[in-house]
Structures are given as C-alpha cells and as structure tokens.
C-alpha cells in the first residue's frame, strides 16, 4: 500500500466523475449548486437509513450472527429504497425550482432544463455515494499495511475502486431515467431504476466473489447508459455522426 495504490484507486474511482464534473458542471454556477444539493439529499437519505439500522441493531442481540447479517441486508435494502425516495423528493424540489427560475427569467425560459438537472442530480448522488464508500479506504491505503493478510481478498482496494466507479456512473444514468420517468409519468421507468439499484446492491453480497458483483454491475451500467442515451435524444445516427465527425451543418461535436 503506497502512493501508487492511493493514486491508482483514486483515479479509477473518481477519474471519470471528476472529468464529468470539470467538463460539464464546473462552468455553470447553477449546476454546481444543484450538484451539492443532490449530494446533500443523498446524505440525508443515508442518515435516516443509518438511524433505522442503528436502532434495529441496538434493539437486537449483538451475538446472534445470523440476525446481524439479516439486519445488515435489511439495512442495505432499506437504504436503497430511501435513496430512491429522496431522489423523488429532489425531483419535486427541482421542478419547483424550475418554475421559480422561469418566473424570474427575462425571456420566460429557464436557464437550465429538467434533463440537465437530472444529469447533474445524478452526478451529485453518485459522487456523494462514491465518496462515502471510498474515502476512508483511500485514507487507509496511504498508510502501512498488507491487504488481505488474514486470508481475505488481496484485490480489495482495486475492486472497491471499480465498484465505486460503476456506482457513480449508475447513479448518473439512474438520475436521467428517474427524472424522465417522473416527467412523463412512466412509472415503469421509475420501477426499473429502483429494481436496478436493488439488484446492484444485492449483487455486492457476492463479494468477495467479485465476478458475481462487478460483472452484473457493469452490464447493468451499460444497459442503463444506452437507455439514458436514447431517452436524452441520442440515437445510432447521432452516434455515428459523432464518431465520424461528419459535417451536418454545424459540427457541435467539434466545438467543445
């Protein structure tokens, strides 16, 4: 465990999110505020779910291993559901905010659309979730020690970093899907997001059998990415035009 591990894991986990932040969010103050508010909402949901878990644990027998494990599973599932509930609340808040922004703008349209807000909110949730999962690990990675000396997996840091990265991406896509579902009243999209989240969290119960958790998560991420891309107005044609940098009047893909 050295600086190499620290930097490696940091950039694996947070590199893509950081670049998303730098290129799409950092320029616009309104988006930064939405990002931090999203992080705050995730934090509140975590707080409430920890409270429930804490009460349950304190009320139960600490020596009963199976019960503790069961409570942990319950805690995880409840936390997932609460996170999605807070995502819904955040959607409601942003809807109101858009109405306020429209009312106060000069030309009657909001400076930011609900889709952009959905994306930023997703990144906010993802960043906070990833930070809470990863930061303590990174701090420990700087110090002395040997990973897995007691027989646990030696890939702990690396897999945690990859899991964090996939979770940040997933939150981003889920944000887009969720808000789209709420906007257009498509409840099955919302249900799909909740189920995907439960599935990803559930798959982490396979750890340290990493093939059982990382592979499904990445597959789900790819699926969510495609779905979010299609919902945001993307299509195979757009993609081809982008990749081939073909001119179609203005070439937005070249102009930053």
């Amino acid at each position: 465990m050295t600086l190499a591990v620290f930097f490696g894991c940091t950039f694996i986990a947070f590199g893509p999110a950081l670049s998303l932040f730098l290129f799409t969010i950092a320029r616009d103050p309104l988006r930064i505020i939405i990002l931090i508010a999203g992080a705050f909402f995730w934090l509140v949901s975590l707080l409430l779910s920890s409270l429930i878990w804490f009460i349950a644990v304190k009320a139960s027998d600490p020596r009963d291993e199976a019960l503790q494990r069961g409570l942990l599973i319950f805690g995880v599932m409840f936390s997932v559901l609460l996170q999605e509930a807070f995502r819904f609340l955040y959607y409601k808040l942003l809807r109101k905010a858009i109405e306020g922004l429209v009312a106060l703008s000069e030309d009657g349209c909001s400076p930011i659309s609900i889709q952009q807000m959905a994306y930023v909110a997703g990144v906010g949730f993802g960043l906070m979730s990833g930070a809470f999962s990863m930061i303590n690990l990174l701090a420990d990675a700087l110090g002395p020690g040997t990973v897995g000396i007691h027989g646990d997996s030696q890939l702990y840091f690396l897999t945690s970093a990859f899991m964090t990265m996939v979770l940040i991406f997933l939150h981003t896509f889920w944000g887009i899907l969720f808000f789209h579902g709420c906007e257009n009243r498509r409840w099955w999209e919302i249900a799909a997001v909740v189920l995907m989240h439960l599935a990803v969290s559930g798959s982490t119960f396979w750890n340290p059998l990493y093939v059982g958790s990382l592979v499904p998560s990445y597959l789900l991420m790819a699926a969510a990415a495609v779905w979010a891309y299609l919902l945001s107005g993307g299509s195979a044609q757009n993609l081809r035009r982008f990749l081939l940098c073909s001119q179609s009047g203005a070439s937005p893909q070249l102009a930053s």
């Binding site: 103050p29 309104l30 930064i32 505020i33 931090i36 508010a37 992080a39 705050f40 934090l43 975590l46 707080l47 779910s49 920890s50 409270l51 878990w53 804490f54 644990v57 942990l72 805690g75 995880v76 936390s79 997932v80 996170q83 106060l104 703008s105 000069e106 906070m128 979730s129 930070a131 809470f132 999962s133 930061i135 303590n136 690990l137 701090a139 702990y156 897999t159 945690s160 899991m163 964090t164 979770l167 990803v200 969290s201 982490t204 119960f205 750890n207 340290p208």
Partner: protein, 458 residues
C-alpha cells in the same frame, strides 16, 4: 488576546482613508441609481460588519438591498429588473462564496490531518478556564457550559465596547487595535504554523531564511489587507488568516466547550443581527445615520464593482475617498486593460466633486461583489476542523459537515435574496453542521464501517 483580536477583527468601522479594501469602495455602487447612493452606501457598508461569529451575510445582497431599496423608491418598474439582476447574479455569488469557504476548510482539514500540533492538548485559553478533565459526565457538561458563558460574554462585552467606541468616534483607537491584531496573526501565528509544519515533515530551516520568509509574508499581508493590493492576493491572505485563527481555536478550545460555543455563537449571531437592540444592529444604524462608509479591513470580498464610470455627487463629502478610487483603480488594473482604465479614472477624478461623469466604460454592466465576514469563515472552519480532528479519523464526518455547511450557506443566501435585509450567516450552516456532525459520527459511521468490512455497497 484571542478574543481581543477577534473583536478587533470584527470592528473596523473606521472611515480611514488608509484602510481602503476594495470592498469598501465598491458598495456604494449600484451605479445607475445615483441619487440614493449616499444612504445606500452607508447601508451596504454596514452590512459588511464583521463580528467574531456574528457576521453579516454577504453583501451582494447588501448591494441587492441597496439597489432594491433605491428602486422601490422609484417605483416597481425597476423592481423586477433588480430582482432579476439579483437572481441572475445569485448563483454566481453563491459560487463566489463556496470557493473561498471551501479553500479555507481544505487548508484547515489538511493541517489538522497532517500536523499533530493542532490536535494536541496543550492548555486552554484564558477565556475557557474550566477544565474538562473531570471524571463525571455531568461535571464536564457543566464546565463546558460555563466556559461557553464566559466566552460569549467576553465577546458581547467586546462588541458593546466597540459599538461605544464607534459611537464616540474613536476611530484611531479602533484602527490601532485592528493593526495590532492583524500583526499578531500575520507574524506570530504564521511563525508558529511554519514551525509546526516543518517539524512534522522533518525539514530543517535556518533562522535567516525563516526571518526572511515570515517578514515578507507578514509585510505583504499587512499591506494587502489594510491598504491596497491585488484582489486575489488579498483574498488569499484573508483566507489564510481565517484558517490560522480557526486552527488556534481548534487547538485551544476543549472538546465539548467547542461544540457548545459553536451553538451559542450562532444563537448570539441571530440575536445580535435581528433584534432591534442588538449591538450589531445598532452599529449598522449608527453608521447609517452618519452616512459613513464603513471600511472593514477584515471582510472577504470576492469581486469588484465597477462604478468608476459614474462619479457620484456625494464623493465630495467623502473627502478621504480619493484613496478609494485608488483601490478601485487597482482592481480595474487587475481585471481589465490597465492603461485604458487608468486614463478613464484619471479623467473622472478631477471633476468628481462637481458633477457626475459617465465614462465610456459600461457603468450599467456592473458586477456586484460578494462579501462575507471573516468570522463566518473562522467558525465554519472550526466546525469542519473539529470534525476532522475526531479521534476515530473518519473522513465521512468531515465530508458530511462540509456539505452541510455549504448547503446552509446556500440557504442563507436564498433567504437573503428573499428578505433583502441583513441576515446572519452563521445559524443555518452551523445548525446543519452540528446536526450532521453528531449524526454522522454516531449513526452513519458504524453503518458504513460495517458495510465496508463486508464490501457491500448501497
């Protein structure tokens, strides 16, 4: 000395032409409403009052206030425009405050996590005489409450003393006090900080180098803060001295006393700003009556305001404000084509007393600055630093407090935009920070630790 310094930090309602922080000049500026500049200027300046812990909220809203009140006098036609302006600049101003607050917190957290000195217990301040080394919980709680009462009463007494000084126009005294306190911060505390950092990293440095470094750092700091200097350098110095102050508090305040003091300071802040007989409110009103621009040397200001284009008729009344144009000029130099603006300003200088001159720069396009008192910086950083200093070494707590404080700041600014009057910046942020600190440390930490040990993800 610490409290002394704090309070002196807070009060500089000196109308001294030497203390031209650009923030001072800028305010009277919402340019297109000349007529009401005088009173509004006073109001805006006042809103920049800084008190140890009872700082006013940023003055973009003071500016907004100022222009808004001016507008109302003119009729509601302009009101909407102003509201839009306030809000259009609103998000930008929030970010302009997020960045320095974040930087200050980063400095404090980095220091706390790496330099052992600031987490070691080496005695207490004279303002918190009761020790917390008692065996029983009740006794400890009582001691911390007593410490808080003493600390807050010292702060109240100092503030009232300063209001009295201001009322009786003892500007020189206040100014001298202020210079003395920033001298101490910039030289003594920086020397101690440098020493401890060098000790931590086991780097040797000879005395001549230390003297050179500290002398330069301190001298440039004094000039930047109390006189003129590039805006960003001034901002950097203000952030650094806030961080140093916060570190001193973190080191010398005992555990429980620190938390109770944080809570009490936010309540005091709330009362001092909103109650009719609060000292800060009286200060504001006195400065308004006198129509004096207050030149606080210890308010963080983030942007410049350009109103140099429009000379105002009342500048003649503010004779010493010649210097203020210097500062504005400096700011301009930093932010636009130097020679161009210089010549513009020179032109407007001479006719200043007689009649307003519109220069060819766009006076309409003014960028309003945002100002936040240094007490806010200090207490935010104390909260986050204390969260970082917890023995468990948990980073989640620090992160949670950080996000909570930023959201509190955001909400305060929102309220400011809604109510359009001076609001204290501490209560909401500190309340959120305290709630999140205690809940994250006691509830979230065990949950996340358990999840991490099984490598589960939520």
């Amino acid at each position: 000395m610490i409290t002394f310094m704090n309070n002196s930090d807070s009060e500089d309602e000196t109308c001294n032409e030497r203390t031209s922080l650009m923030s001072a000049e800028s305010p009277p500026i919402p340019s297109y409403q000349d007529g009401l500049q005088a009173s509004e200027a006073g109001e805006a300046q006042i809103h920049r009052k800084r008190h140890a812990g009872s700082s006013r909220s940023p003055n973009n809203v003071a500016d907004g206030d100022v222009s808004d009140s001016g507008v109302r006098a003119r009729g509601s036609a302009l009101e909407n425009e102003d509201e839009e302006l306030t809000l259009k600049y609103g998000a930008k101003h929030v970010i302009m405050l997020f960045v320095p607050v974040t930087l200050c917190m980063i400095v404090v957290v980095a220091t706390i996590k790496s330099v052992r000195f600031y987490t070691e217990k080496n005695g207490q301040l004279i303002y918190t005489p009761f020790s917390e080394d008692t065996p029983s919980v009740g006794q400890r709680l009582l001691n911390s409450v007593l410490n808080t009462i003493i600390m807050i009463s010292v702060i109240v007494v100092m503030t009232v003393f300063l209001v009295v000084l201001y009322k009786y126009r003892c500007y020189k005294f206040i100014h001298g006090w202020l210079i003395l306190s920033s001298l101490m911060l910039l030289f003594l505390f920086t020397y101690i900080y440098l020493g401890e950092v060098l000790k931590t990293y086991n780097v040797a440095m000879d005395y001549p180098t230390v003297i050179l470094v500290i002398w330069n750092f301190g001298a440039v700091g004094m000039i930047c803060i109390h006189w003129k200097g590039p805006l960003q350098l001034q901002q950097a110095y203000l952030i650094m001295i806030s961080a140093l102050m916060a570190l001193v508090f973190i080191k010398y305040l005992p555990e429980w006393s620190a938390w109770v003091i944080l809570g009490a300071i936010s309540i005091y802040d709330l009362m001092a700003v909103l109650c009719p007989k609060g000292p800060l409110r009286m200060l504001v009103e006195t400065a308004q009556e006198r129509n004096e621009p207050i030149f606080p040397a210890l308010i963080y200001s983030s942007a410049m305001i350009w109103t140099v284009g429009m000379a105002k008729p009342d500048t003649a009344a503010r004779g010493p404000s010649q210097q203020t144009w210097d500062a504005a000029e400096d700011e301009r130099e930093n932010h636009s084509s130097p020679s161009h603006s210089d010549s513009q300003i020179l032109e407007t200088r001479s006719p200043v007393p007689s009649h307003p001159i519109t220069s060819s720069e766009e006076p309409e396009e003014e960028e309003r600055g945002v100002k936040l008192g240094l007490g806010d910086f200090i207490f935010y950083s104390v909260l986050v630093g204390k969260a970082a200093a917890t023995p468990s070494g948990d980073w989640n707590t620090t992160l949670a407090c950080f996000v909570a404080i930023l959201i509190g700041l955001c909400l305060t600014l929102l309220l400011l935009a809604v109510f359009k009057k001076a609001l204290p910046a501490l209560p909401i942020s500190i309340t959120f920070g305290l709630i999140f600190y205690f809940s994250t440390d006691n509830l979230v930490r065990p949950f996340m630790d358990t999840l991490a040990s099984h490598q589960l993800y939520i």
